[in-house]
Amino acid sequence: MSVIAFAKNWEGKFKKSTYELVSYAKDLASRLNTQTLVLSIGEVDESELEKLALYGADRIISVNDSRLNVLSSRIYAEVISQFVRKEFATHILLSDNNSGKAISPRLSVKLQAGLAAAVLDVPKSLEPFVVKKQVFSGKAFAYVQIDSEKKILTLSKNSFGVKENPSTAAIEYFTPELKEDLFKIKVKSEESSDNKIILTDADIVVSAGRGMKSPDNWKPVEDFAAALGAAVACSRPVSDDGWRSHEEHVGQTGKVIAPNLYFAVGISGAIQHVAGVSRSKCIVAINTDPEAPIFSVADYGVVGDAMTVLPKLTEIVLNGE
């Protein structure tokens, strides 16, 4: 028995969500009285790998293969499953982000391991193994019991927190056997968008809706976001009408996000919109209509015109209260 956390890197660096996952893995391993193994795939410097020990990794294992620097769910699932089999690991943890979502289903089939996706808390019980997850896009929760011997969890962002728990783990290396035909999908080219802050990673998000009235009115939104170091998001009709890119659409049919602070500006608060943002720690609503449903899910509200409120807020943030 052991717990394995897959530590995803981005261009050789880990993120807060990686450390949160390792913290969770350590907590679970302590409950199970076993070790926390952290597996990194692709080239990562030892100085970066060592950081994983700060959050409780008992062993840090690196698959230091440059062919694996770009994520391929098929290959990564193969690497992780070989490692799981070698270690007789029982609990496999991934972050609930793009990569975790792509890898975990394949891993589940390879290992015949039940998968609980988007887990929100430490297990409710270990025998049987039951965890809490979000269902109906945040409108409810479910307790999922995993019946297979091996178990896979993907952990929702900001659900456990980063917890320091220093250990003295040495770095080991693991070389999986990979057949050439796994490297079949070729990336022809890559485009990067000009959004510097990735929406699903952002701690603060400024989101605007149809209340802005025209795509030409987004400057106050962007200025306010820039002042806060926040990502910009929007409601569905705004992206459907091409006012903003699809990448910014949040809600039940767009991105589901859980920042610390979410500003809903000129957004009415339709159930499908709220579904995608309800796990935000704090919601601020700015709306001209005091009856707008968004106020019933917000922590703080301002009744006012976004076009005057936003520039004032920007001013206050930049120049102090």
């Binding site: 769910s73 098929r74 793009n98 979502k101 792509a102 975990s104 289903p105 394949r106 589940s108 089939v109 015949q112 039940g114 998968l115 996706a117 988007a118 039951v130 979000q134 269902v135 109906f136 896009s137 409810a140 929760f141 479910a142 307790y143 999922v144 019991q145 995993i146 019946d147 297979s148 079949k184 999908i185 070729k186 990336v187 080219s189 890559e190 990067s192 959004n195 990735i198 699903t200 990673d201 603060i204 659409h249 039940q252 049919t253 589901v256 602070l261 159930i271 579904a275 720690k281 704090c282 019933s296 917000a298 922590d299 703080y300 509200g301 006012g304 409120v309 807020l313 206050i316 209260e321």
Partner: protein, 249 residues
């Protein structure tokens, strides 16, 4: 080429979800069931591709693992324009069970492209597409935002954090679609509804397969404490509260 689109039958997105029997079951009284929104976009794109005669697509089929209540949703998929529908007659126990059933059907009846939505709006597990890829030993393209042809070559885009990748691959593969794949979901027209009645909806028995997980209980989220209103003329108060009270700035 043949396209198979996986269809999940889910409560309408405006549904207020309630539970019964001590939070063990969904209270389905009054629920309107719809095609999972992402599956609907996948289906729309598949039909668009077939309608353009320059593309090598001969058939669009939809498949669902579910009980008889799902037939109405499959009829809607036929009305939107699918050529035929398959229902594997079983209670969809978990994603592993569902993907295993669909994979078994594909092994017997080959398809070139299989599409699924990035998640199902009920259990939000984002699993069926990736599991299918593994059951079939095919590549699965996650977060696919474009699917088209350039002559005989496929033109596929997928979203990655902070950008977009353009991929080169040949069928068979699983495409896990997200928003962008089609502009608007297609709505069935009267003619489509009439025609759907005559299209084949085949019901097949499930294969023996054990689910790996089960939901043992549901829970309602707690109601939020009331919203603190701030005067639009005193916005420094808001920033102050976000710093000192909510501690999020």
């Amino acid at each position: 080429m043949k396209i198979l689109v996986c269809i999940s039958n889910v409560p309408d997105t405006t549904t207020k979800i309630k539970f019964k029997e001590g939070n063990k079951q969904i209270d389905d009284a009054g629920i309107q069931w719809i095609i999972n929104p992402w599956d609907e976009l996948a289906l729309t794109r598949a039909i668009e591709l077939k309608e353009d005669a320059s593309n090598p697509i001969d058939e669009v089929c939809v498949i669902n693992v579910g009980e008889a209540m799902c037939d109405a949703t499959l009829r809607k998929a036929l009305a939107i324009g699918a050529d035929k529908a398959i229902r594997i007659d079983a209670n969809p126990l978990d994603a592993y069970f569902v993907a295993g059933q669909i994979a078994d059907y594909i092994k017997k009846t080959p398809y070139d492209i299989v599409l699924s939505g990035i998640e199902s709006s009920d259990y939000n597990s984002s699993s069926v597409g990736g599991m299918l890829g593994e059951f079939l030993d095919w590549p699965a393209i996650s977060s696919m935002t474009q699917l088209g042809f350039d002559g005989d070559e496929l033109n596929i885009h997928r979203a990655i954090p902070g950008g977009n990748q353009i991929l080169q691959l040949t069928p068979p593969f699983v495409g896990i679609v997200q928003k962008g794949i089609a502009k608007e979901p297609r709505i069935p027209a009267m003619r489509g509804i009439m025609m759907a009645r005559k299209k084949p909806l085949e019901v097949l028995p499930a294969i023996e397969l054990k689910a790996l997980s089960q939901i043992v209980e549901f829970e309602q989220p707690q109601a939020k404490a009331s919203c603190k209103m701030i005067d639009a003329e005193q916005l420094d108060e808001l920033i102050h509260l976000l710093k000192s009270e909510a501690k999020v700035l």
